[in-house]
C-alpha cells in the first residue's frame, strides 16, 4: 500500500459581477460603500482615541477587512442571528447597530451596548439578535451549534451567521462544532474571515492545506473560498449559504481571504511581516474596489468619507457626554 496526503485543490470562487451588480443595483451598493466608510472611520477613530490615551484596554481593528462585514451582513435577513469575534466592530456596524451606542461601549460608558461592562471585545446587541463578539478565540463557534439547534427545534426559518478568524479554525472547538452542525444539519453559516495571520502566526505555518474552505469536505458539508476583499463575492457566497440553510440543507463553511492592515492589537511591532506586504494589500482596498465597480467618482467618494467621519465625531460627542457607570452599581448584572 502507498499512502500520500490527499490535498483537495479548490479554486477561489469567482462570482458573476455583472449579474450581482444588476441584481443589487447601484443605490444599494452605494449604501454599502457608505457603511464600509463608516466602519473604516470608526476604526480610525478608535485607533486615534487609543493613541491619545483615552481608551483603557485593547482593541482589534478591522481596517482592510470591511468587505467581509458588509457582504456577509447584507446577505442575511432580519431575525437572523450573528455571533462574531474580537475583531468585530465592522460586523456589528454592518449588522445595523447604533454607532453612538457602540462608541459609548468602546469608551466604557453606561450608555453603551453593554453598559460599559464589556468593551470593544464584547459588544452585543441582543435586540437585533447579535449575540456578541468574543474575547476567546473560537468562543462563539460552539454557541452557534446551540443557536442552530434552537432554530431547528423552534421550526423558524432563521439562520445563524458565525464569524471567526483563520486562527480560530485550528481550535478543537471548530472541529467539534462543525461536526455537530453537520450531523444535525443545522442552519448555520461558518464564515472564516481569513486575514492571513493569527497574531504573529501566518496562515501558511498554521495549516498544511491550501484553503480553510477545503475543510468542509471533512465534515461532509458545503464549503467555498472567496476573495474577502470583494464584497460581492462574500455576499454571493453567504447568500447562497443562507438559502441552503433556510431550505434545510444544513451548514456551510465560507472562507473569505482578506488582510489585516493594522497590527493585531494595541501593542504589535509587526516583526512577522514586511511593510511591502502590507502596502501590497493596501493597494487592494476593498472600499475603493466596490466604489470603482459602481463607477463612483472621486468627489462623491470623498464626500461619503467626510460624512462618515462626521457621524463618528457625533458618536464620540455622544459617548463623551454620557455618564460612566456608577460604582454603586458594580454588583449588578451577574445573575438574572
Amino acid at each position: 500500500m502507498q499512502l500520500t496526503s490527499t490535498a483537495i485543490e479548490t479554486e477561489i470562487y469567482q462570482p458573476d459581477h455583472q449579474r450581482l451588480l444588476e441584481e443589487l443595483g447601484e443605490v444599494r451598493l452605494r449604501e454599502w460603500v457608505m457603511k464600509m466608510a463608516l466602519i473604516r472611520s470608526f476604526e480610525e477613530k478608535a485607533e486615534d482615541l487609543f493613541a491619545r490615551g483615552l481608551v483603557h484596554g485593547t482593541m482589534h481593528l478591522s481596517i482592510g477587512q470591511e468587505a467581509v462585514a458588509i457582504g456577509a451582513s447584507s446577505a442575511m435577513q432580519p431575525g437572523d442571528y450573528l455571533l462574531n469575534h474580537h475583531r468585530g466592530h465592522g460586523h456589528c456596524l454592518a449588522w445595523g447597530s447604533d454607532v453612538n451606542l457602540m462608541m459609548a461601549e468602546f469608551l466604557g460608558k453606561e450608555t453603551g451596548y453593554c453598559r460599559g461592562r464589556g468593551g470593544s471585545m464584547h459588544i452585543a446587541n441582543v435586540e437585533m439578535n447579535n449575540l456578541g463578539a468574543n474575547g476567546i478565540v473560537a468562543g462563539g463557534i460552539p454557541i452557534s451549534v446551540g443557536v442552530g439547534l434552537s432554530i431547528k427545534m423552534r421550526g423558524t426559518r432563521q439562520v445563524c451567521l458565525t464569524i471567526f478568524g483563520d486562527g480560530a479554525a485550528n481550535t478543537g472547538a471548530f472541529h467539534e462544532s462543525l461536526n455537530m452542525a453537520s450531523i444535525w444539519n443545522l442552519p448555520v453559516i461558518y464564515l472564516c474571515e481569513n486575514n492571513q495571520y493569527a497574531m504573529s502566526m501566518p496562515i501558511q505555518k498554521a495549516i498544511k492545506i491550501q484553503h480553510i474552505g477545503q475543510r468542509a469536505c471533512a465534515y461532509g458539508i458545503a464549503g467555498v473560498t472567496v476573495d474577502g476583499n470583494d464584497a460581492l463575492a462574500v455576499y454571493d457566497a453567504v447568500r447562497t449559504a443562507a438559502e441552503r440553510a433556510r431550505n434545510g440543507e444544513g451548514p456551510t463553511l465560507v472562507e473569505a481571504i482578506t488582510y489585516r492592515w493594522k497590527g493585531h492589537s494595541k501593542s504589535d511591532r509587526q516583526a512577522y511581516r514586511t511593510r511591502e506586504e502590507v502596502k501590497e494589500w493596501q493597494a487592494r482596498d476593498p472600499i475603493r474596489r466596490l466604489a470603482q465597480l459602481i463607477k463612483m467618482d472621486e468627489a462623491e467618494y470623498e464626500e461619503i468619507f467626510k460624512k462618515a467621519q462626521a457621524t463618528i465625531e457625533e458618536a464620540v460627542a455622544f459617548a463623551n457626554a454620557s455618564p460612566e457607570p456608577d460604582v454603586s452599581t458594580i454588583m449588578e448584572g451577574v445573575y438574572a
Binding site: H56, G119, S120, M199, V327
Partner: protein, 328 residues
Amino acid sequence: MREITYVEAIREALFQKMSEDKTVFIIGEDVGIYGGAFGATAGLIQQFGEERVIDTPISEAGIAGACIGAALTGFRPVGEIQFMDFVTLSMEQLVLQAAKIRFMFGGKAKVPFVLRMPGGSGTGAAAQHSESLENWFVHVPGLKVVMPSTPYDAKGLLIASIEDDNPVIFVEHKLLYKVKGPVPEEMYRVPLSKSNVVRQGKDLTIVATSIMVQRALQAAEQLAKEGIDVEIIDPRTLRPLDDEPILESVVKTGKVLIVHEAVKMGGFGGEIAARIAESTAFDYLEAPIRRLGGLDIPIPYNRKLEYHAVPQVENIVEEARNLVALRV
C-alpha cells in the same frame, strides 16, 4: 544589586535554563518572533531557534498536551498560555492527565513541565482576559501552583519550577511585568513550598499573594505612620503550601488579614483561614480572621469599575486599621 523588571527576570531564567539544559524548550502562541504577548520570550527564538522556541496554532489543549507528552519522554518543556483565562481550554489535560499520571502509574513516570500564564486585572482587558484562577489548580493533587510577587522570586522560582519533577502551574501577573527589583545575574533557586516573611511586624499578619504582596507592602508603609506594625507573608507556592510561617506569625500577632485578587468566594484565602482555624494558632487569635478578595463579579471593562472590583492599597489599609482596633 542590579535591578531588572519582573518580565526580564522571567526571560533571564528561561535563557539561562535553556542554555544549560538541552531538554528545556518553550512552546506556546506567539512565543517566537512576537516574543510572547507580554514580551517574556522576546529574543529567545534568535538565540535558540524554532526547534526550541515553538510557535503553535491557537490550541491550548494541544499546548498542555505537548508539554505532558514531551515531559513523559525526557524533556522539561516550558509552555506559555497567553492569558491565564485561556487555560480553561487546557483543563482536561492538566487536571485529568498531568496531575494524575504519576499516581495512576504507581509512581513509575514523571511529568516535569512548567506552564506559565499571566493572570489578573488592571489592563482594561475585561472579563475574559483578567481572570485569577489559581485556586482551581490549588484544588488538584499532583499539580504545583507557584505565584511570584517580585522579580527576584520570579527568576528563582521559575528556575526551581523547571528543575522540579512535577507539573507546575506558574502564575504571573500582568501588572507586575514592568515592576523592577534587585535580581542576581547568576542562576539561583528560590525553593518551592517555602513561604516568605516579606516584612516583619508585631500588630497584624497580612498573608498576600502575587500583586497583593506589593499592595500590602504599600499599605504597611502607610500603616507604619499610624503606629501599626504589619507582618507580611507571601506563600509564593500555593500548593503544596508551607503554612508553618503563617501559623507562627498568627501566634505572634494574634490578628490576620488574607488578601488576594481572585474572587473571595472559593478563593485561596479560605484555605489559609481554615488552616489557622484548625491549628493551635487559633487559640492566639484576638480578632476574627478577615479576608479581602475580588468582588463576586466578572472583571468589568470600565476603568473605574475594574479598579473597584479587586483589593487596592486603600482597602488593605482600612481593613487592617479596623482589625487592629478590634478587641475580643
